[in-house]
Symmetry: C2
Subunit: 410 residues, 2 copies
């Protein structure tokens, strides 16, 4: 997985993002958060665009998720995103408000309301200030530009500390295809602020079913492989829009072009997901958990997530403590049948810490400590069972995690 | 579930515990922890005693767990417990050491080594100081008394802040049966210190299979319903010894006597389990999660544990923040099929906070805040699906949890 870009000053910077032909973005401040920051984003897709999406598995998904799911079949042309309010846990009024905001967009842009996909992120359980949103729509519409990616990335932020964007240009049949994406935490990170959101746009030409297939596969390898605290929100969603405005012919099944496109989409999603973990609440370290020699991908992910969700492992990483007993115990309770302790090896970066069911013979605390002092650490677990391997990303668990989540509403 | 006793000074106190005829305890200081505190307990069971046990499900269980499991079939007469060292992650040497400590007991007490069940709790991955333990066994043997429950409860402590004991005397056919139990955290609380342990003794007469049946059922309703951080250790175990020394005739299947005994065992286990949660690392609040109207017990427990494991819920309770959105989101991601948001009700103690898929109409922040300010809080979730109900116990997630677990080895 690529490393998210960091400037010489140690800060993450928003990359230069080219335009995506056929996809325009407009932002404005609707006053939802009562700050000066923009909190509304309008995406416009060129006629003939295709659009695919994946949504939270949370049984109590928010009103806008219900509406977006339903409208996805009506060849959407518009996305409306607001931050500051999740419109979740809002009952029938929440549904009415989500529909009203779509109708508001339709009025302003002269479209059908069911061609609008709504997305909300922010506090759960507060009524959506739908009038504020509707009043702001003409300004968002007037601001539509191909170049507004940085503004959009900022406008969808809630407690994120930096805007997150990734862009990749690939060459297919000698012509360029651009893929841009923006994301925000938190999803599993802070479901109360409700939501991991990802918005990806490309000028590729690709049918909706094939685009959906590519997105689902990419999300499985990226957003579904990150975890900060194991909580999934009521509003999580990831959307990809394909405008069909590039010069590359339609991408169809079983072609090298599809493979190139699908791989690029995976890379973009992985970087967007990684950026979310890097911005995990209170996170001081990025932890890559590489599970190898599993019987299946499912088994590898299961072990990886058990480690990633362990508060004991996460606090040990915060303390830079090479506490291999906690990692071993987490592997042991992952629910893998007939696992043989003696076959398992565990590494911190390149240092073997567990071998033959015990601390590795040549392991030294100094070697383990040297790894733990790093800001990015890979835990590799070799299960000695098969050939499947999968990676899960997480971060450490710090005082600030407790502070941020304990003090959020106060 | 009964409330664990607290003195007028706000401290938990160790209850007065009667003797259990036929069960003697001896403690001593073997110097494992290099403190002045006793760290060895020897239990002696009268001839003809029966003994049942349940052990950790962690695939990487510690050496003493392997030995205790194997010896359980040999009509055990002795338990040897050490704190300060878990003898886990110690490979073949760990097995040799566990067997050597059993042989050491056999030498001193003139028994068979396979009649000894060994238990260890403490740091993972350090060699067991087996010579220190063997050298201390004569003193532990010489100290055997029926009355040593308080000393034993203290000797098995690791980072526990108070010794945990429960006693109940029941009357069956006009005669008394005593059930005593002691426990220690941490199990799910601090698996690195490795271990939730529970030791229960009774003077009842009951066959081993029936005793095992009663214990398994009791553990399922008690120790398996508590969680502090979701981590289960390599050393967790719970043992019940029945000496057969009471005047009550043998307790046999399908009798009122069995029901009375089994119910008392459940109560004792629940109180021992509750004491562990109350001593959860950094815990400031006890949270009872009562899930009602579920389709099955399994479903109720699943929802309860999903709430109990949510760091977002736990930090909100630490902050006394009535953040019902986090509870709702946790219920929603518990993986219950076809759950209907509108049917779910959530209460904080007697205050309804969620109804009809949204914040309850008559809910006020003041009412929620009043509940959250309490030290013991019950979250009741009514799923509106069936008639099953189950309770899960947990505690909040504080700065001290991070501090204790981040600083443990340093």
């Amino acid at each position: 997985m690529a490393v998210y870009p960091k400037g010489a000053d140690g800060q993450y910077y928003f990359p230069t993002m080219p335009d995506v032909a056929g996809i325009a973005l407009g932002t404005t401040n609707a006053g939802i958060k009562q700050t000066l920051r923009d909190d509304i984003v309008l995406f416009q897709m060129a006629e003939g665009s295709t659009c695919a999406a994946v949504f939270t598995q949370n049984a109590f998904c928010a009103a806008p998720v219900h509406v977006a799911k339903a409208n996805l079949v009506h060849q959407p042309r518009w996305l409306l995103i607001n931050s500051g309010n999740a419109n979740a846990g809002t009952g029938k009024q929440g549904m009415d408000d989500a529909l009203a905001s779509c109708a508001g967009v339709a009025d302003v842009v002269k479209a059908q309301a069911n061609q609008v996909l709504p997305f909300s992120t922010g506090v759960i359980g507060q009524p959506l200030p739908v009038q504020k949103i509707i009043s702001a729509l003409p300004a968002a519409y007037a601001n539509l530009r191909l170049s507004n990616w940085d503004k959009a990335a900022k406008a969808i932020m809630t407690t994120d500390t930096f805007p997150k964007g990734v862009s990749e240009v690939i060459t297919v049949d000698g012509e360029a295809i651009t893929i841009n994406g923006i994301s925000k935490g938190a999803g599993m990170i802070q479901p109360n602020m409700a939501t991991m959101l990802g918005f990806i746009a490309t000028d590729a030409t690709i049918s909706q079913p094939l685009l959906q297939h590519c997105l689902s596969a990419a999300v499985e390898q990226s957003f579904n492989r990150i975890t900060v605290d194991g909580d999934t929100s009521t509003n999580d969603a990831c959307v990809v829009m394909a405008s069909g405005c590039s010069r590359v012919p339609e991408i169809v099944a079983d072609t090298p072009a599809l493979q190139i496109f699908a791989n690029a989409l995976v890379r973009v999603c992985k970087q967007l997901a990684e950026a979310i973990v890097r911005d995990g609440e209170g996170a001081t370290k990025l932890i890559r958990i590489q599970v190898e020699q599993a019987l299946s991908d499912e088994e590898a992910v299961r072990v990886g997530k058990t480690i990633a969700h362990s508060p004991l492992v996460k606090t040990a990483f915060f303390a830079s403590d090479p506490n291999w007993g906690r990692i071993l115990a987490a592997v042991g309770r992952a629910g893998v049948e007939n696992m043989v302790l003696e076959d398992v090896q565990i590494f911190l970066d390149d240092v073997c810490i567990v071998n033959n069911g015990q601390r590795a013979g040549d392991y030294t605390e100094e070697a383990g400590q040297a790894v733990m002092d790093r800001e990015e650490i890979t835990i590799t677990v070799k299960l000695g069972r098969g050939t499947a391997s999968q990676e899960v990303l997480t971060c450490d668990f710090s005082y600030d995690y407790v502070r941020i989540n304990a003090e959020y509403r106060t």
